[in-house]
Amino acid sequence: MKISEMIEKLNLKILTGDFEDCDVKFGYVSDMLSDVMGHAPSESALITILAHENVIAVAMLRDISIIILANNRMPDKKTIEKSCDENIIIGVTQLSAFETAGILYNNGVSGKYE
């Protein structure tokens, strides 16, 4: 699923400026960082409600392409800056993590477990 399709289908607001419209094949949902660390596939979409800077460190270390913040969770400025520095896209949606994952799944994003 392209980032541009996510923007359309999740009504996603991108906070990190310009992005490369890459095709995201895998996804993971978690609010525990060591679970993300241990199991999230690389080059994936991470759906979470954790909106602070530690998420960026984990996403960078695990090569996650896009962080989708569910339930309209807003990161602070520092977190957005850090994300820009590390080339990780952050998008915010009003939808819940459950609904977000469902839409991604229905659009071909799968849950490869690493």
Binding site: D31, M32, L33, S34, D35, M37, G38, S42, T48, L50, H52, E53, N54, V55, A57, V58, M60, L61, R62, D63, K78
Partner: protein
């Protein structure tokens, strides 16, 4: 190629610096992605454990032919039951730490799963020394 990092207990905004720095170095050196992934996971979890559970610590990173060696030594409460600490799901993380998304009790198991050799020495009320090795060809 050695690196040394100071880790401050309780400082979550700096947490992950050592692992990110090493990840960038290994990428530059052209190590295989699966090795970089293992090092990143193990180092991050070790780093976070000092931030979340100890007062201060030092992390040493070394590359020797075929091996990456990491040692993390901290001053802190130590670990009373090491076997229990390595059990997936066991955590003594405070509610403040949990709110930030830590405390799944998966850090030490993640380290074990991603390393080839691991040793942990700990003394209650003094501190903990964790060393691990990741082999590469």
């Amino acid at each position: 190629m050695d690196r040394k990092y100071i880790i401050e207990g309780g400082n979550f905004s700096e947490a992950g610096f050592a692992s990110s720095d090493v990840k960038k170095l290994l990428k530059k050196l052209g190590l295989p992605t699966n090795i970089i992934k293992k090092v990143a996971i193990a180092m991050y979890e070790a780093e976070i454990n000092v931030v979340a559970h100890a007062y201060r610590g030092e992390m040493e990173f070394k590359i020797v032919p075929g091996q990456i060696r990491v040692t993390v030594q901290d001053e802190g409460p130590g670990i009373p039951d090491v076997e229990l600490a390595f059990t997936e799901g066991f955590s003594t993380a405070s509610s403040k730490v949990r709110e930030m998304g830590f405390g799944a009790g998966m850090g030490l198991p993640n380290i074990k799963r991603n390393t080839d050799e691991i040793s942990l020495h700990t003394e209650v009320e003094k501190g903990t020394k964790l060393s691990f090795i990741i082999n590469f060809t």
